[in-house]
Symmetry: C2
Subunit: 280 residues, 2 copies
């Protein structure tokens, strides 16, 4: 198939590498506001050529929109306006409600599939693209009843070629779930990094002492604000709910330390260990 | 050398595997309250034999004490009582002040070296022991002026054979630094796991959606309470200080979300990104 990828960052770039490797795409066109990204994407073998948006959409059978979530809401209706024939448009955004609202009632809504391939790293830009990023990870399709069966089928084949498991949620459920399993982890990690940077002025000491446990917990603190600010803006209400619960839980540990109630502390750790059942 | 390892868990076991592989130890004796641990350690090639404490110490040139930190304060004076000749005793505890106080003024204090090899995983027991756990990690020696130069030299060679970088701190500084770079990460991770377990009742959803970011942030929540409760008990005051700062920082993110102040939120993420300079 001929595929256009709009937004040649970590996710768009990794999709390009995967679709080419798996033979899903025989020609890949890139679109990016940033010329340097386009040039890098060609050099890295992510896309075959870079074209302006209209020309790219016109030539493509599948259009993957992989920009930060704030620009999706203006870009997706524009792309749908350009669609003719049986082209398929999909986004890969981490929040879904604003995206779904932006295409609600569009005459070509059925051409669009709202998806969220749940994979990533803390790095960004085309040079962060990695082969196999999506393998054995989960891709969420939202509000599938609003997409044409043929469009859904193309998206299923696309993600299955990348090795992903598919799951289905409505928009509100998606945005709530990702607040729990993704967005709150990022805030915890940002806060941890800031705490350590603030309190620990002798940075060389942190570098020397940082063990694997610390590194894995603060890894997400390296994430790009240009990706994450739009996500927090769009999913603010859900994130606030989860953040309140998180602050309560951390504060509970604080109270137990103050009271030297190590038996309840022990019970809480035992309960936290239950996460093993879930993440293995 | 003939080495005794007391406490055949993740750390003691990994030291055994490493010292044998590097040829530092030609015979390794294990000591453990738990008979099953002793048998597993023999089966896994961690130790050659298991002996009672007194017999093991009598036959050994180096005694590594690798039990949870609460038992160190009673065990270390007992081991030093048994020492004769030029044997070297070292502990590997994650907190140092109670250990240092427990041997203060002991007639054989100079035989003892207080060390903290900063490496680990979220697993425990002899079956969690891994080759190469310590390679390129940092080992902290504390209050070295109280140890005999010959004892220090043996410990340096021991840790260098495991591939560790050595650094030196006094006891109070050590305990403060580890509160920042290790202990607080564990509490953040426990709290994150509890938050998600509590709020998200449909556990299958978490399993499906949990991506790499979530898994790395909650990894430490799998840690064993038998290891960690004694650490929090001993380092309570330092952990409380860091925890207050962490709660303030998380609460600041909450306030920014409530006020929709995404420009300050953006500045905080940029600052948090500075952690890249430190953990690479």
């Amino acid at each position: 198939m001929i595929v256009t990828i709009i937004g040649l960052g970590l996710i768009g770039g990794s999709i390009g590498l995967g679709l080419r490797e798996q033979g899903f795409a025989r020609h890949i066109i890139g679109v990016d506001n940033d010329c340097a990204h386009g040039e890098k994407a060609i050099a890295l073998g992510i896309v075959d050529e870079v074209l302006p948006l209209e020309e790219a959409v016109r030539q493509s059978e599948v259009i993957v929109v992989a920009t930060p979530v704030d620009s999706l809401t203006t870009l997706l209706p524009q792309v749908l306006d350009l669609v003719n024939g049986d082209q398929v448009v999909l986004d890969v955004g981490s929040t879904k409600m604003p995206v779904l609202q932006s295409v609600e009632g569009h005459s070509k809504r059925a051409h669009f599939v709202a998806t969220h391939p749940m994979a990533g790293t803390e790095y960004s830009g085309p040079e962060a693209a990695v082969r196999g990023l999506f393998r054995d990870k989960c891709c969420v399709f939202t509000d599938v009843e609003k997409s044409a069966p043929e469009a859904l089928e193309v998206c299923r084949r696309l993600y299955e070629s990348l090795g992903m498991r598919l799951t289905y949620l409505n928009g509100p459920d998606h945005d709530l779930h990702v607040a729990y399993v993704s967005h709150i982890s990022h805030i915890a990690s940002f806060a941890l990094a800031l705490t350590v940077l603030e309190k620990e002025r002798e940075e060389q000491r942190i570098f020397e002492l940082a063990s694997g446990g610390f590194s894995s917990t603060v890894r997400l603190a390296k994430s790009n604000p240009d990706t994450w600010i739009p996500i927090f803006r769009q999913n603010r209400d859900n994130v606030l709910d989860v953040l309140d619960e998180f602050i309560n839980t951390v504060s509970r540990f604080r109270t137990l330390l103050i009271k030297k109630d190590f038996s309840t502390f022990d019970a809480l750790i035992h309960h936290a260990n239950d996460i093993r059942r879930i993440i293995g």
